[in-house]
């Protein structure tokens, strides 16, 4: 396969080596989408493409938070449970307690952010492994969901209905749900934060070398708390979008979503050890997963488990790619200059 990397190598401007995984993911997205378009009728339309955003809005938002965390070299396993908890809180707040929807959403976002910040504090202040801390957070949030209700609660609320049933009309008769619009705004904000603010640069520095970041006088501990708070916020927002998408809260929603988010981030080219990667890559990663799911639903004869198989193969491929790039960078560095 002639990858984007090959094309770039011929271009007069030598590309930044770390952009390569993002271009590979973009190439993969175009490739899978073209395969779908060739094989199935009605696949290669703008609306099918827009549906990718509509059907995966919550995962895009969750993946944003996960990207921040993974860029610092951490991991957040609690996101799926926090998505479910947020959906539950939305359903209970609007439909059982009859509170105004904006107030409920604000409360949900605060809970998610606070939950993430608390985990970040544990990780920083007590030097607990992120894996363990967020695993505990995952159990905790899921347990709270099931305590609130063991059954699905449907949302009957004017605001939620209005937002869910209407959408942004685009030229050519296409449409984009407000959930997807929210996700795209979140992506834009996140890219800005990572690229043009001190917080964003500190995230990269901490991921590159926490020890160095500290010795350079950067607030390494504070940055780590902030990324988990961001991830908590994104999970809560993802939960709200998920509630909009399903118009219900369910304690068993989003089981395993943390793994989908991690997969999307890794396929998007972010290195699990931190310090290297781009947010746009994670978005492309989510879209690649989305295209695979869409292809399977268009086909109708393939088992949905093929999605998992495809994700597995892609993950292996991308981790190998990162290794290769990393190894070449190392050998260049050790070569005398």
């Amino acid at each position: 396969m002639t990858t984007a990397a090959d094309v770039l190598r011929r271009s007069p401007v030598t590309p930044n080596r770390r952009h390569i995984p993002v271009f590979v993911t973009l190439g993969l997205l175009l490739l899978t989408f073209s395969i779908g378009s060739v094989r199935y009728e009605n696949f290669g339309t703008p609306q099918v493409f827009l549906d990718l955003f509509i059907d995966n809005a919550f995962l895009i938002v969750v993946a944003i938070g996960m990207t921040f965390v993974i860029l610092t070299g951490g991991i957040d396993l609690s996101v799926g449970s926090v998505v479910a908890l947020s959906g539950m809180l939305c359903a209970i707040g609007t439909s059982k307690l009859q509170l105004p929807a904006p107030l409920v959403i604000l409360f949900v976002l605060l809970v998610g952010t606070g939950f993430g910040a608390a985990m970040g504090y544990m990780i920083t202040a007590f030097q607990v492994q992120p894996f363990i801390t967020t695993l505990a957070g995952m159990f905790l949030a899921r347990g709270v969901c099931l305590t609130l209700s063991e059954n699905q609660i449907s949302i009957e609320n004017g605001f939620f209905d209005a937002v869910a049933l209407n959408s942004l009309r685009l030229p050519g008769g296409n449409r984009l749900s407000w959930g997807a619009v929210t996700a795209l705004i979140a992506v834009a904000v996140a890219i800005y934060v990572l690229q043009w603010t001190r917080l964003g640069r500190n995230v990269y520095a901490v991921g590159g070398s926490e020890q160095s970041a500290m010795l350079m006088g950067l607030p390494a501990g504070r940055t780590k708390i902030q990324v988990y708070a961001i991830s908590g916020f994104c999970s809560a927002l993802g939960g709200v979008l998920f509630a909009l998408y399903t118009l219900s809260g369910d304690p068993t929603h989003a089981v395993g979503m943390e793994l989908d988010a991690i997969a999307a981030v890794v396929i998007g080219g972010t290195v699990l050890t931190g310090g290297s990667g781009y947010l746009i890559g994670s978005v492309l990663g989510v879209l690649v997963l989305g295209v695979i799911k869409t292809i399977l639903s268009f086909d109708g004869t393939l088992s949905s488990w093929w999605t998992r198989i495809a994700i597995g193969v892609l993950l292996f491929g991308f981790i190998a790619l990162q290794r290769l790039i990393g190894a070449r960078r190392k050998s260049r560095r050790s070569a005398p200059s």
Binding site: N16, R17, R18, Y192, Q195, W196, T197, R198, R201, N202, Y204, A205, G207, G208, S209, Q211, S212, A213, M214, L215, M216, G217, L218, G275, S276, R329, R332, R333, P336, S337
Partner: protein
Amino acid sequence: MAAPVLEMEGISKGFPGVQALQDVSFRLFPGEVHGLMGENGAGKSTLIKVLTGVHTADAGLVTIDDVDTLIRGPLHAQRLGISTVYQEVNLCPNLSVAENIFIGREPRRFGRIDWKQINRRATELLARLGLDLDVTAQLGSCSLAVQQLIAIVRAVDLKAKVLILDEPTSSLDRGEVARLFSVMRRLKADGVAILFVSHFLEQIYEICDRVTVLRNGGLVGEYPIGELSRLDLVAKMTGQELTALEELDEASPDVVKGERLLALEGVGRTGAIDPVDLDLHAGEVVGFAGLLGSGRSELARLIFGADSADTGVIRTGGGPVALKGPRAAIDQGIAFCPEDRKGDGLIMDLTVEENIILALQVSRGWLKPLSQRKREELVGSYIKALRIHPPHPYALVKNLSGGNQQKVLLARWLITRPKLLILDEPTRGIDIGAKTEIQKLVVSLAGDGMGVVFISAELEEVLRISHKIEVLRDRRLVAELDNDGTLTPEHILQTIANGAADS
């Protein structure tokens, strides 16, 4: 002379069991390069850590620009104008060159980071120090030397009045050192006070205006470099007062030189040790003398195959051999007790018996385990022979004293009946009694026909038991001296100080 920018007075700092600094005073003037000299454990790093706020002194005063100051931490030290560049570059390899210089204090426009200005200013700063680099390149893609210079640029742009360079040259080649020195001279001309730590005497003499010498946590003195000969400097660092060395016991053991075990022909490794020619014979104790960083351990590691040589041939009695790794060396009958017995040698949580039996078991292969009785017999005999205390095979090694740990390590290798035994600082940090026992043991092993390489920073010790002394300096073998009974530590010191006899 102008007023000192930094003054430390009566600094003491103790850690549990060690007095790292005892009443040390130190002055640093603007526009000077000041060398901080001392052997390992002299207290250099502790002094630097007090200066950078990593440690707080137990007693003493730090004055910066005539103001009493308590340095609260690395960040606070930076704000006070004290910047440090460590041996290992503490920058982020995944960020660009320019970003590494500016991160944490990026110029901003309308709240967002102004990348154009960062890149422009980084280019200017580097150009001022004579560096022409692509500032948008990733730091990790630059050589270590350039990374070090970038760390200095960052430090200096933090408005540093005092710049601490902690062994910045240890991994640089000659050209890179020259570049670093030219940068240092420019900074010096700008009035920056530079504290420079290096193990390389030549570099100290090339760049420093004054030196402060520490030994065993105490201050030896502060000297203008022009008034201190190399010989005096080495003597002050090692504490070998030349007059006191007269009365050394002259009991050089008889040489019973046997067959040639190993011949090194031009064996070297870039960045570790220049090519060396060396013969090692059975029944002979060869001492390696030199300061820390002189290449003495590096040479030993090449002989054992722990590092692989870039150049040269190693021959045994049977012809050239490729020592591709320790396993190959062990097969050739070479044994190596490393300097860092905790890190490289012993496994602290295992018992004496398990540690002793380890090498023998490895060379037998795991499929042929030793019987319990055989193990007890073997281990018991070595515990007795080396007088390991407590004489208990099931004691945990971590509970033994340093000297006894060293004996366990020795026993491990003796049990494999090596033809050549390499001992790297076998007596460091152990008490006099155990030291003498190990020295006696080495002499008697050689008497039994074993070849021994003995590495020690203590010249007296090397002289007492070696037949032949290889003197190393600045990663080169500079002289080979026969210990014919007339050799004194002064000779060796002189050789270390002057380099080869002819220079």
